[in-house]
């Protein structure tokens, strides 16, 4: 290496470092204007989650405490993890016929991968994904949920 090359290397080296320092220096001076990190529990109130965000499976109930689930088990079959268990019962129709209906919709949140396949499979759109994410509990058994509300029944006209 010639002496000239040696000094040239030092010069380009220092110059490249200065270029990088300019970028970081720029951020040092501007950082209070473009803050992008948010501290999590502090921003809880203004946290906006996308409406499609898949956080957990819920069953939609209307004001009369009625849902649209017929107990057809299509979602149970579509689920890759065995997260859903449908227990059905037989209701009596006014005409005195037996009719299959949903008894309990058991949902294992701890097994769910939020893949949305059950929601896609449901023919009556009885279940949806809810944009929630704070699922931690102290005991695993609390993650096993019953999705149909107590006393709820199927909406009129849903087949």
């Amino acid at each position: 290496m010639t002496l000239k090359q040696y000094f040239k290397d030092i010069f380009t080296g220092v110059k490249s470092l200065a270029t990088g320092m300019r970028v970081t220096g720029g951020y040092f001076l501007r950082h209070h204007k473009e803050k992008i990190t948010e501290q999590y529990p502090d921003n809880r109130d203004k946290l906006v989650l996308a409406e499609r965000f898949r956080g957990e499976v819920v069953m939609t109930h209307d004001d009369n405490n009625e849902h649209a689930c017929t107990g057809c088990t299509a979602c149970e079959l579509a689920c890759p993890n065995g997260t859903i268990k449908i227990i059905t019962k037989f209701d009596m129709t006014p005409e005195g016929k037996k009719k299959k209906a949903l008894d309990t919709f058991i949902y294992h949140l701890e097994l769910c991968t939020m893949c949305n396949l059950c929601v896609e499979a449901c023919p009556t759109s009885a279940i949806t994904m809810a944009p929630t994410f704070e699922h931690s509990v102290f005991d695993r058994s609390q993650l096993i949920k019953k999705l149909n509300k107590p006393g709820s029944k199927i909406r009129e006209g849903v087949e």
């Binding site: 470092l17 300019r22 996308a50 499609r52 893949c115």
Partner: protein, 375 residues
């Protein structure tokens, strides 16, 4: 011989020593276990030991239906979740003879390229961190966060999307998608130049990468390297160019090739690919045609008896999905050819004779994602 339980062991009669890096080592970016033989500071041999994150995905897929198995592939190379899902969807579509609507094809390609940008961003931050720079990691995550927000809005998830389904995509684009994507691209264009100023030109970074981790073109081919790892050695292997799928045939982009074959060449390839991805998205984002986003398919997919193979270019290289069908509702056998596994096998060749301090930097330029290697 060494025993794995021994952290350091000397080999009698020589100056050589065997040490374990990992499986819980921050610089391996995952649970990768490397058994290294060193002589002083020179690496003599590197032996990757796998199995710490084996989830038996291929076996699991055999008991899942053709719709269900796709979600597991998001958990392989979790940084290219979209592209993995895409490969599976392509294989199933090929088996079933499903015609994908044009709108879905556009959406898929745009999503793939966004994923590639996010993945390369994360890689850029982590390779700089492997060489000792901390700031780039935060800058890269800032850009990646924008993509994650876009993904969250349209796909409903940030990392394991499960958005590509046989026949198209799961939901239609969110009304804000095009606007947000364009805002992101405009923002990102200026930031790439910042990346160059901060890291690419940096003399320390260049000295760390230039001339280390060399692999020749012939060796890259014989180790089965793909993706930016192989293209850094001048192997033309971009699946998007050679075997175009979806609408890649219609878009103009260059396959980035570098011939130096060292770590810095691999770095340059990925950085240039970021620019190519921007240009691909820009060409497509305004052209997305109206129409269906998902083809009508039967509820239960039953492909005919036979073997089906599809390949895509993920952020790390070529991903192949091989399905053997017996005509039932579940696959008889599924095999994934993951890019990380072959790229890792070349590590030993690249590192031999180098200093141990360079090992981490070389590994960084391979962009290893361990769950992809060890499925």
């Amino acid at each position: 011989m060494y025993r794995e339980t021994d952290i350091i062991q000397t080999i009698p009669g020589t100056d050589e020593m065997v040490i374990n890096v990992g499986p819980q080592h921050p610089s391996t970016h995952g649970v990768l276990h490397l058994v290294i033989t060193i002589d002083g500071e020179t690496v003599k041999k590197v032996e990757p030991h796998l199995g710490y994150i084996h989830r038996s995905i291929e076996k699991m897929c055999e008991s899942l239906s053709y719709r269900q198995f796709i979600y597991t592939t998001s958990r392989m190379d979790y940084l290219s979740a979209h592209i993995n899902n895409h490969a599976c969807a392509l294989a199933v579509e090929q088996a079933m003879g499903i015609e994908v609507p044009l709108r879905a094809q556009y959406i898929r390609v745009v999503m793939d390229e966004l994923t590639r940008i996010a993945s390369h961003c994360l890689w850029w931050g982590s390779v700089a961190m492997d060489c000792g720079a901390v700031t780039p990691f935060f800058l890269a995550f800032r850009e990646r966060e924008m993509i994650n927000t876009i993904m969250e809005e349209t796909c409903g998830a940030r990392l394991t999307m499960n958005y590509m389904v046989p026949g198209g995509v799961m939901f239609d684009l969110h009304p804000n998608f095009q606007r947000d994507t364009k805002t992101f691209l405009a923002h990102f264009r200026s930031k790439i130049d910042e990346y160059d100023e901060l890291v690419t030109g940096n003399i320390i970074f260049q000295n760390r990468l230039k001339g280390t981790g060399y692999i020749s073109k012939a060796d890259a081919i014989s180790y089965g390297c793909t993706g930016p790892t192989a293209r850094g050695s001048g192997v033309s292997c971009d699946v998007r160019k050679w075997y175009p799928y979806e609408v890649y045939q219609q878009v103009q982009f260059d396959e980035i090739l570098e011939t130096a074959g060292d770590s810095f060449a691999r770095y340059l390839v990925r950085l240039a690919e970021l620019r190519q991805s921007i240009s691909i998205i820009e060409q497509l984002i305004d052209e997305i045609p109206a129409g269906e986003f998902q083809a009508k398919t039967k509820a239960v997919l039953k492909p005919p008896k036979g073997e089906f193979y599809s390949r895509v270019e993920t952020a790390r290289g070529e991903l192949g999905v091989y399905i053997v069908s017996e005509g039932g509702t579940t696959p008889y056998r599924i095999k994934f050819r993951s890019p990380g596994f072959s790229n890792l096998s070349a590590l030993d060749h690249m590192v031999r004779g180098q200093k141990i301090g360079d090992l981490v930097a070389i590994m960084g330029t391979l962009d290893l994602v361990i769950p992809d290697i060890d499925r």
